[in-house]
Amino acid sequence: VTVTASTTVEEAARVVVQERVGTLPVIDKEGVLTGVVRLQDLLRIFMPDFVALLDNIDFVHDFGALEQVQPQQISDVAHLTMTDLAATPVAVEEDCGLMAALAAIVKHQLQDLPVVDKAGRLVGIASRVDIARAFFAPRFGDGLSP
């Protein structure tokens, strides 16, 4: 599942709903990975302003008027495109070692790690669970064989 730089927030939100994915790789016409939009980037633009401004929000239990997102708020951001949201991608090449992949997800707190070929074209996505399983199974057993 991929998006392009011109995909809007509205379209991206539909992709998340239909495909149940939390990471949207942004690719260009040649399939080269140019950016990554994470679910939290997409959600952040719907967050109230105070969430970013206050260090501590634990004392706010009832979000009052904010619980109903206003139509105005939706239309304000619906036209934003992935260009406005995408971060510089963190990706690994196909032949990268397991430890390098693990380090990348831990260091950058990633849910999913895009995998690219030598030309930078997206070839797949490894979820953090996939990578962790590949790391744990040979060491602690996969629990399937006795």
Binding site: L53, L54, I57, H61, A65, L66, E67, Q70
Partner: protein, 431 residues
């Protein structure tokens, strides 16, 4: 004019213009200006390194530094959020009452604490409360800055220009309470009523939901009650000593720094967290600007300037004072009122040397610099902070939005200030 006077004036004018333009950070400009001024002074023999050190008003710097440290210790306890939530809940979601409550809270806190820190900490909670209620935070943010700027003129420690003026003129905390505070009380109430008029349509919008506000628990915002108690006690003693510093012959700087030392010793906060947020760049800016202005003084430019205006002051001191008030107000609208005050203080000191009775001029400067700062987003540091913060939200405060309320507030407060000043001119000519 001598060559030294021409050179020192040129250096100062260029530095001041660059501070106004704001392309390069003002602290960098001031430090470079101070270095160039001193280099020229040494080469041309009009300004020495010893003179430059003496030009720095360490009483101003010490008072500001001490109060900044105290506020940082207080800040870490969650006190500001606590007070903002408590007072906001008392409004029960009525926008006009909310504006009165938050504006009054910010003003009262900034009478004794650094204005900038108060606004930095109250503004995010204001945005939170407005969002929970489903109303625009803009009138509340502008009101907090305008009311705390206006209110700050009432005390020696309320705003930086007062600190500088008090230190230069030798005015005590009590002198400010008996001279500027009564004027400020009237001007502050006028500001509040004017804000109600200016924001009448915004304040007429009923909140969509007041449950969010009423369900906020201020006690949860307070994360360190023990430290809060200790800091409040230290602050209480500091404020008490401010009231008595004239009689006790203690400088405000010593009281503030002594208080900071006591709070640090008693509360034992993490020094690496408490000291870096102190506004070092502001303190450095002050010190550098003092050195630059010291060069102007040493070369005799300020004496020359004072000689030009002395005739007016001798002729009619009331007219001269009112002129100072309005010039200070208009200048403080165009530039941050701090550099203006630092540059203007030695001119009044020179007038004193020429035999003028300077007390009314000092009070006029304090009122003008304080009230004038309201007009524009760059007029005072608190305004800059509020605008910068609002730019990170969905409802940024543009210069146009600011000026729509800032200019009327500046004009009304300056008129109130001028009328009261003229009516009580005899009193304003003391101490």
């Amino acid at each position: 004019m001598t060559a030294a006077q021409v050179v020192s004036t040129a250096i100062f004018v260029v530095a001041f213009a660059m501070i106004l333009l704001g392309r390069i950070h003002r602290t960098i400009v001031a430090m470079a200006g101070a270095a160039v001024m001193l280099a020229a002074g040494i080469l041309m023999g009009f300004y020495s390194q010893e003179q430059a050190l003496h030009a720095i008003d360490f009483n101003t710097l010490g008072l500001l530094l001490g109060m900044m440290i105290l506020v940082q210790v207080l800040q870490q306890t969650g006190f500001f959020q606590y007070v903002a939530i408590l007072t906001a809940k008392a409004s029960r979601g009525n926008p006009w009452f909310l504006l009165v409550m938050l504006g009054t809270t910010t003003t009262v806190l900034s009478l004794f604490l650094d204005n900038v820190t108060t606004v930095v900490l109250i503004a995010p909670v204001t945005i939170l409360i407005a969002e929970l209620l489903g109303i625009s935070p803009v009138p509340f943010l502008i009101a907090e800055a305008l009311l705390s700027d206006t209110g700050g003129v009432a005390t020696l420690v309320g705003d930086p220009p007062n600190v500088i003026i008090g230190s230069a003129a030798g005015f005590t905390f009590g002198d400010f309470l008996t001279h500027t505070a009564p004027v400020v009380l009237v001007a502050w109430l006028a500001t509040l009523l004017l804000l109600r008029l200016l924001f009448r349509s915004e304040l007429a919008n009923p909140p969509r939901n007041i449950d969010g506000l009423m369900h906020l628990d201020e006690n949860e915002a307070l994360h360190d009650r023990a430290s809060l108690g200790k800091t409040i006690i230290v602050l209480g003693v500091v404020v008490l000593l401010f009231f008595l510093h004239g009689q006790l012959h203690l400088t405000p700087a010593y009281i503030a720094l002594g208080g900071a030392a006591a709070a640090l010793l008693w509360v034992r906060p993490d020094v690496d967290e408490t000291l870096p947020p102190v506004e070092w760049s502001v303190l450095l800016f002050f010190a550098a600007l003092f050195v630059a202005v010291g060069g102007l003084e040493a070369s005799g430019v300020l004496e020359l300037l004072a000689g030009r205006v002395v005739g007016l002051a001798q002729g009619n001191l009331l007219a001269a004072s009112l002129l100072v008030l309005w010039v200070a107000a208009i200048a403080s609208a165009a530039v941050d009122n701090i550099p203006f005050t630092i540059a203007f203080v030695p001119v009044i000191q020179q007038l004193g040397h020429l035999g003028i009775h300077t007390s009314p001029l000092w009070w006029a400067l304090a009122l003008g610099a304080g009230f004038g700062g309201n007009a524009t987003p760059i007029g005072s540091t608190a305004n800059i902070i509020v605008v910068t913060l609002s730019e990170k939200t969905r409802t940024p405060i543009t210069t146009r939005i600011w000026v729509r309320s800032g200019v009327p507030v500046m004009i009304v407060t300056c008129i109130v200030g001028s009328v009261l000043f003229a009516l009580f001119f005899g009193w304003m000519s003391t101490p």
